[in-house]
Every structure is written in C-alpha cells, then in structure tokens.
C-alpha cells in the first residue's frame, strides 16, 4: 500500500466520518457482547433480587423480602465481618510489602531488572495454583511447620486455628500472588518524583528515613491511594483461595461475601437470594470507588 502525504489541506473530520454507519458497524460486535453479557445481567441481578428465582427457572416477585432476609441473616452479617476483617489484614499488608519492594527496587543500583522480575513472578500464576502450593506450605507437615519443628516449635494451625490466624494466612497467599502489580504501579510513581527535590533534601542533610517520610510519601500519596482502592476492591472479591484452601472454614471462619454468594447460588440453588448478595457486593465496591472520587477531588482543589 502506498501512503502519500496529501498536498492539499486535509479533509475535515466531519467529511471523513460523514457516514455514521461504518462507526456503528465497527462497534457492533463488541456492543452486542456488552448488551447481552454485561447490561442484561446487571439489570438482571437487580430484577432477580426481588424474586425467589430457583433452579427450575420458576419464580414469583416477593418484593424486598430477600433484602429483609439478608440483613437479618447471621450468615450474611458474619460473612460481611469476615470480608471486612480480611480486608483490614490484606490491604495494609500488601501496601507495606509492595511499597517496601518498590522503594528498594527504585534505589538499588545493580540487578534491578532481575529483582523486579523475580518479585513480579507470582503475578502470572493463578490464585488456584497459589492456594494449592500454600496449602502445603501451611500444613502440619508442610514447609513452615517443618522449619518450626527444627527449632522446637509445635505445628502452628495456619488454616485450622482461630479466625484472625486463618484470615491472616489467606491474606498472605493473596499478597504473595498479587503484590507485584501494586509494586510496579508504585515503582512508576517513584520514578515520577523529580530528582532535584531529593537532591535538595540531601544537601540539606536529610536522612534516608526523613526523606522517605517527608518527601517521598507525600508526593506518592495519589499513587498510594490508587493502590489502596484497587486492593480494597480486590479484598472484597476474594474467593478462589478460600474455595481451594479452607472451603469457608473452619466453622465459617473464612466464609466471605463472595463465598456466601457462591454457596447460596450453587450449593443451595437459591438464585434469587444469591443475586441479592451480588447487588450488595456491587454497592460495597461502588461505595469504595465513591470514597476514592471524593478524596481525590478534595485533594485537587
């Protein structure tokens, strides 16, 4: 194909795109997919939450009954608490790990590419794979307890102990699997901090910790905030590791929100009720995004 530079003034945008049919035609395949598999199910979730939809496909409208049942269901209140507790452990942990590794990568002189690659490695695996490895790592005859035994400490019940321990153990797996992403986002943020600011601070005799706390962190705040928001949303969607590692147990200690949705939907086939949990999940995630907008807008004014 030969491509010439036009000598005459370029035809205007409108002239070029005067036939609206082509634009629609190019969007059409994706539009059809979105309508059928995104818009319809989104509205469907809301619609189903007002029915007692069952596996057979029969249903009657029951008004807000599902919502009344949900908010008085101890199972739901507990699952919300489990998810919240999990998020409270997971988000700070993943932030600290990704911020620490990003900062070290930013400052290291030699071997940055190699270290970055190794630290990012778990991100390309699945949560299922991560769950299977870490189940063994946590077992009473597994990696960590094997090491503990060497120094005369008894087996720790990582996945069978109390709730904080189980949720903490699950959080560690998710941190291992996905901190690489936040690390790279934070690393890009660190690179954007102008070097002369650091230079000036160094000349003023600021120590490493002082510089980190008084210059790096404030300048990095928007990026840190972005990471906190996406990781919080991820924490509320945790499912795969729970399914593989604990099945919601022991004694519902890790029975999170999405796990409850799956359980109600695909073990009890109570689709109307499960759809209601989905609607609540949407509002929780939506709320987190709204808080993000609010805080970012306030920062900018």
């Amino acid at each position: 194909m030969t491509v010439h530079r036009p000598a005459a003034p370029r035809p205007s945008w409108r002239q070029r795109a005067r036939d609206p049919g082509w634009g629609l035609l190019f969007v059409l395949p994706m539009l059809v997919l979105f309508v059928i598999f995104r818009y319809v199910p989104s509205l469907g979730a809301v619609g189903m939450s007002f029915t007692d939809y069952r596996l057979s496909g029969e249903f009657t409208f029951i008004g807000a009954e599902n919502y009344e049942r949900l908010f008085s269901d101890d199972l739901f209140v507990d699952s919300l608490r489990v998810t919240l507790l999990y998020a409270l452990i997971y988000v700070p942990l993943t932030l600290v790990v990704s911020l620490a590794t990003a900062t070290m990568l930013h400052h290291v002189v030699r071997g940055r590419g190699l270290f970055r690659g190794l630290l990012f490695l778990p991100y390309v695996t699945s949560f299922v794979m991560a769950g299977i490895i870490w189940t063994w790592i946590y077992q009473s005859d597994g990696l960590i307890n094997g090491l503990l035994e060497r120094v005369g400490l008894g087996p720790a019940p990582f996945l069978t102990g109390n709730q904080a321990m189980v949720l903490g153990s699950l959080a560690v797996v998710s941190v291992w699997k996905s901190f690489g992403y936040s690390m790279l986002i934070l690393l890009a943020g660190l690179k954007n901090i102008p070097g002369d600011v650091m230079e000036a601070a160094t000349l003023d005799g600021a120590g490493a910790w002082g510089k980190f706390r008084r210059i790096t962190l404030p300048l990095l705040k928007p990026v840190v905030f972005f990471v906190v928001v996406i990781e919080t949303i991820a924490a509320f969607q945790v499912f795969d590791t729970i399914y593989v590692m604990t099945g919601g147990g022991p004694a519902r200690a890790s029975y999170g929100l999405v796990y409850m949705l799956y359980d109600q939907g695909f073990r009890f086939f109570d689709f109307g009720y499960a759809a209601t949990i989905g609607v609540v999940l949407f509002f929780v995630v939506f709320l987190i995004s709204l808080v993000q907008r609010y805080v970012l807008d306030r920062e900018n004014t």
């Binding site: 190019f26 063994w136 090491l147």
Partner: protein, 292 residues
C-alpha cells in the same frame, strides 16, 4: 527501612563530605541488595517447592534444607498420561486462545470506531462500556449463569467463552492507542481510495501491533488463570479448565506429589510467557495500568 539511599546522581557537595557519603552509600547499597535477594528468595521459594515436590517420590520427607534423595519423573508422567488432565489442558488452551483472538479483533474494531469515527451516541456508548468496570464479575455471576443456562450453554465451549469477551479495558486501551496515531496516515489512505475494511486491516491492525501484543498477553493470562466462571459453567469433567480441574484434585485428596506435578505443569505456559515477554508485561502495567 533505614538503609534507603538517594538515587545515584552527581552531587555537588564538597570533596571530603562527598567521599564520606559515597562510602556510606556503598554500604547502604550492599544492605539494599541483601534485602532484595532475601525478598526475591522468599517470593520464589513456593515455585521451587512445587517443582521439587513434583519431582519427588510421593510421601518423601521434603523440608527445605533437605532435597529428596531421589528424583523421579513418575508423578509427571502419571499426570500427563491421565486423560482428564490432558483434556483440562486442552480446554484451558481453547478458552484462552479463542478469547485472545476474538477480544483483540473486536476490541480493535470498537477502539478504532471510538477513536476515529463519529456516530450518534458514540461518547455515551464508550462511557457505558467503561461503566461496566464498576460492576464486579461476581455481582452478575448468578444472572449470567441463568442466562447462559437458559440458552443451553452450560458445559459448552461457547457458554464458557462468549460471556467473557465483553472487555471494556481492552476497548479503552485500543481506543487510546488508535487516537494517538497520526491523522495523516488515515487521510492518505482515504485519498488513495482505500475502503473502510482496507483501512482497518492494512492500516489499523499493523500499526497497533505493539499494543495488541501486550493486550494479548494479559487476555491470555486472565483466561488461563480464571476460576469462578469456569467453575460454575464447566460442570462435567471433560469441560473443566486446568484451574477447575486442579481444585477438584485438591478437594479429592489425590496424592500430594500428583497434585504438585499437575500444578507444576499448569504453570509452565505462564512461566514461558513471563520469561519471554517480561519486559512487555512490566512496562504495560506501569504505563496503562492494565489489571487482571
């Protein structure tokens, strides 16, 4: 975290203090490297463990400082000769590769239209695509399942694949990239009398190769590692993907060495992609914020 140093930059401080600082910085750099080695080892150990366990006889005592006495390929060959494992692997490849091809094509088309065409409601449409990012996949899991099962899509490839193709991140990424291409190229093609399809096939697709490659890697990884949707839609053993199959092995308390061998094989495509295309992956996260 007291070992942080400033990025290496020429300092204008006096010679003597500069000398002292340089020595301190070298010391700090050693600490930094030691910490990074430690962090990297901790990160990689679980991978090494999978492969060690996969290559050990079942029931062998495998504690970190004690490699197994004998190496065996029995587990790997047992897994590879199990027909369901091969079937799951095939399913995962079909799920991932068909999704990559269709998403790249439809997202490039939609991105091209949003970037270069004006049609009524194009902006509203773009925003309505992006708005679906706010709706977590889990929130619409039940109605999606009901929809697909009413269309008889449970335990079929189309039921597995098609609902996952509506991908707004892909469309948005393509739109941004195509918007950044020089206008002149499109003008010239028009003046040469190229038709709409010719422009798309001969101009847009070749020019977007780098971003298509990046997007392709991500779409592959998203689908290869996907779990919840295949879990509910692939209910028979022969429709399962690798992630779902692995989780059933885990639940059925199959011998540990067999599970680890399966897990090891399942992660190999991801490791290959990572090994070959690491730079692509890393750079695209930093610049476009693509997220799995």
């Amino acid at each position: 975290m007291t070992t942080l140093t400033a990025p290496p930059a020429p300092t204008q401080a006096g010679a003597s203090s500069g000398h002292r600082r340089r020595r301190r910085r070298t010391g700090a750099n050693i600490w930094l490297t030691v910490l990074l080695v430690l962090a990297s080892v901790l990160t990689v150990v679980p991978f090494v463990a999978v492969f060690v366990l996969a290559l050990s006889p079942d029931g062998a005592q495998t504690i970190p400082d004690q490699l197994p006495d004998e190496v065996t390929l029995d587990n790997l060959s047992a897994v590879l000769s199990a027909s369901s494992f091969l079937r799951w692997t095939l399913n995962s490849f079909v799920y991932s590769i068909v999704s990559v091809v269709v998403i790249l094509l439809t997202a490039a088309m939609a991105g091209y239209a949003f970037a270069r065409k004006r049609f009524p409601g194009s902006n509203a449409l773009m925003w309505s695509f992006l708005a679906t990012l706010m709706v977590p996949i889990q929130a619409t899991l039940i109605p999606m399942f009901v929809l697909v099962s009413r269309l008889d899509g449970v335990n079929t490839f189309w039921g597995l694949i098609v609902p996952t193709l509506a991908n707004s991140q892909a469309v948005f990424l393509m739109r941004q990239f195509i918007k950044g291409l020089p206008d002149d190229l499109f003008d010239a093609a028009k003046i040469d009398g190229a038709g709409e399809w010719t422009v798309f096939w001969r101009l847009v697709l070749p020019l977007t190769k780098p971003v298509l490659a990046t997007l392709g890697i991500f779409v592959f990884l998203w689908h290869w590692n996907d779990f919840l949707w295949p879990l509910v839609i692939a209910q028979t053993d022969e429709m399962r993907t690798l992630t779902v199959g692995l989780s059933t092995l885990n639940a059925e308390s199959v011998a540990r060495a067999r599970i680890m061998a399966s897990a090891a094989i399942s992660v190999i495509p991801c490791l290959v992609i990572f090994g070959v295309l690491q730079r692509y992956l890393v750079n695209s996260i930093a610049t476009s914020g693509l997220k799995g």
